[in-house]
């Protein structure tokens, strides 16, 4: 009975073609998470590590009602100004940018400065979890040789050659309080990662007269290393509650570089009862020739040069019988690149004579015939060298 039943079953099977290639891999789209959700879960950090503390001053609140009435009056005045209306209708109304900037600094400027400083990771590397809103605007200008002034705002680029002399600093002060100004480099430490160099530190500045303060650390020009890109240099202004004598050794321009090693967070932690950060300005700078002079003439050491470490290219394991591969190109992949470069260099030096003028480059490199007996792979190799393609560029 059983046998006959099974036999009947088999006879009824219809052989269908199944297309395995179009099967959905993984979960169906309605159940699986998106790449964004998965990355968020992977990079989740606990609140302990992400909570931030405001170490600055609170906002001085103005009376909202007064502000509103003043502004409404002003807008009414503007709307009834026929001259302004004509200018606006003819697309000729141009606002005063300095006036707009000054107003911005009084209203939303400090908050936006904090935002951009966060974008550059300034607070993270100065105070780790601490941050502050820079309510006092710092006007910092480097005097250039041609008499013009180069300002420092929040992240603009200043070349080291332009910042050799100390800048002029100005800020709005009530005249009574004392201030501290610090300039540190967040990225420039030569020997220890996560440490800074203090380039300038002036304490007990009365009013806004920076020259009258006690210079603890004399000014040092920025020295971003060659090949390491853009370094951040941060000016922070602290408001002092009283006269503070920092327990720091005096650093002059002739002191060794190690004396300038500094950690803002530790220093601030020690004096946080007496000083509060209130002003911020920073710039980015990258290598130029003045850094070389600085290392050779001031520090009397060899200038370190770095290069970005790109990942090595993947080269798959060598095969005994590679198929459809040009043998010379294939074999070159598994040779020592230094040896290959040496061969190219020797070939180049063979035809060079220090007492003769070098022959002019070929005007039509492909038009010069190669011997007929030459194998085609060698012809291609020669042509590549003549055209300056490929490994010949590495010499």
């Amino acid at each position: 009975m059983l046998k006959t039943f099974r036999g009947a079953c088999i006879a009824n099977i219809q052989f269908q073609q199944v297309r395995f290639a179009h099967r959905i891999r993984g979960k169906a789209p309605i159940y699986c998470r998106t790449i964004k959700e998965r990355l968020e879960e992977l990079n989740y950090k606990d609140e302990i590590y992400t909570t931030r503390i405001d170490i600055g001053f609170p906002r001085t609140k103005l009376s909202a009602a007064d502000l509103r009435t003043n502004r409404l009056d002003h807008i009414k005045k503007i709307k009834s100004d026929k001259n302004l209306e004509q200018l606006a209708r003819n697309h000729k109304l141009e606002i005063d940018l300095t006036k707009a900037r000054n107003e911005w600094l009084k209203t939303s400027g400090p908050y936006q400065k904090k935002q951009i400083a966060d974008h550059y990771g300034v607070f993270e590397h100065l105070y780790r979890e601490g941050y502050f809103i820079p309510f006092v605007n710092l006007d910092i200008y480097y005097n250039l040789k041609d008499g013009s002034l180069l300002p420092v705002y929040s992240g603009n680029v200043v070349k080291p050659a332009e910042a050799i002399e100390y800048p002029s600093v100005g800020f709005e002060s009530d005249g009574k309080s004392l201030w501290t100004l610090a300039l540190t480099s967040l990225d420039g430490h030569l020997t220890e990662a996560n440490k800074e160099y203090v380039h300038w530190l002036i304490a007990n500045i009365p009013g806004d007269a920076v020259e009258k303060g006690d210079t603890i650390v004399e000014y040092l020009q920025p020295f971003p290393l060659k090949g390491t890109g853009y370094h951040r240099y941060v000016f922070v202004l602290y408001k002092q509650g009283k006269r503070v004598s920092y327990d720091l050794p005096k650093v002059t321009s002739s002191s060794p570089l190690e004396a300038r090693t500094f950690v803002t967070r530790d220093w601030y932690e020690k004096y946080q009862d007496d000083i509060t950060p209130i002003g911020l300005a920073f710039y980015q700078t990258d290598w130029d020739d003045s850094v070389k002079d600085f290392f050779h003439n001031k520090l009397n050491i060899k200038e370190p040069i770095y290069e970005y470490d790109f990942p090595e290219p993947y080269i798959r394991p060598q095969e005994w019988f590679p198929r459809r591969k040009p043998f010379n190109i294939y074999m070159d992949k598994y040779r020592d690149p230094k040896q290959i470069n040496k061969e190219y260099l020797l070939r180049k030096l063979k035809n060079e004579d220090p007492f003769k003028t070098p022959p002019p480059p070929l005007k039509f490199p492909n038009a010069h015939p190669l011997p007929k007996s030459m194998p085609s792979w060698l012809k291609l190799h020669e042509k590549k060298i003549r055209l300056g393609w490929g490994r010949v560029n590495d010499v």
Binding site: L39, E40, N43, I75, I78, K79, L84, A88, H91, L93, E94, I95, L97, K99, A100, R101, E103, W104, S108, Q112, Q115, I116, D118, H119, Y120, G121, H125, Y153, S154, G155, N156, V157, L186, D187, L190, A193, L225, T228, G229, Y230, H231, R232, Y283, Q284, I301, K302, P304, I305, Y306, E307, Y308, D309, P313, I329, K333, I340, G390, R391, N393, D394
Partner: protein, 172 residues
């Protein structure tokens, strides 16, 4: 999306001389983007608003005001200028007419330059002669480049050409 940040935060440099540490790490999170070797969030080329950028210019006109922002692909909006903020409104006749757009462009360009962001991706398709076009013209006139450079890819030894390294080009 943070995994990208971790990679771009740790440039590994190697040293040719032994006077200092062999591996120097620049902590500046914007450094690799400026040197053009950071990653861009690639892989979303089928999505309509492109995501392959580090900084992007976003212009949002509402019924009453106009907002211009620079948006970073990880950190969100980093620079902002609005016509409704008092700094601009104080001097404008109307806060969404052509003049408002032109002046917004000027202020926005100034703020970007102050923050050291001079290149940004922009996918705004502006009607020629319109307000938006005038805004973009002012931004360009203010010194902002409205396209971002390609990521520098290190050439393989067997590649035909060796493109110049962006960080070795001297501007002067």
């Amino acid at each position: 999306m943070n995994s990208l940040r971790i990679i771009s935060l740790q440039p590994q440099m190697w040293v040719r001389f032994s006077s200092t540490i062999p591996e120097f790490i620049n902590r500046n999170p914007r450094n690799l983007e400026r040197m053009r070797i950071a990653r861009k969030p690639d892989g979303y080329h089928l999505d309509k608003p492109g995501r392959k950028f580090w900084h992007k210019l976003v212009l949002t006109p509402s019924n009453r005001t106009v907002t211009a922002q620079v948006v970073h692909f990880l950190n969100g909006p980093v620079i902002e200028a609005k016509t409704s903020e008092w700094a601009l409104r104080q001097q404008l006749y109307s806060i969404n007419d052509t003049c408002a757009y032109i002046n917004l462009g000027r202020v926005f360009a100034q703020r970007c330059l102050e923050s050291g962001i001079t290149e940004m991706y922009c996918d705004i398709k502006a009607a020629s002669g319109g307000k938006v076009q005038k805004f973009l013209d002012e931004v360009v006139k203010g010194g902002i480049k409205l396209e971002e450079s390609e990521v520098y890819k290190k050439p393989m030894p067997w590649d035909m050409l060796r493109p110049e390294k962006p960080w070795e080009i001297n501007e002067e």
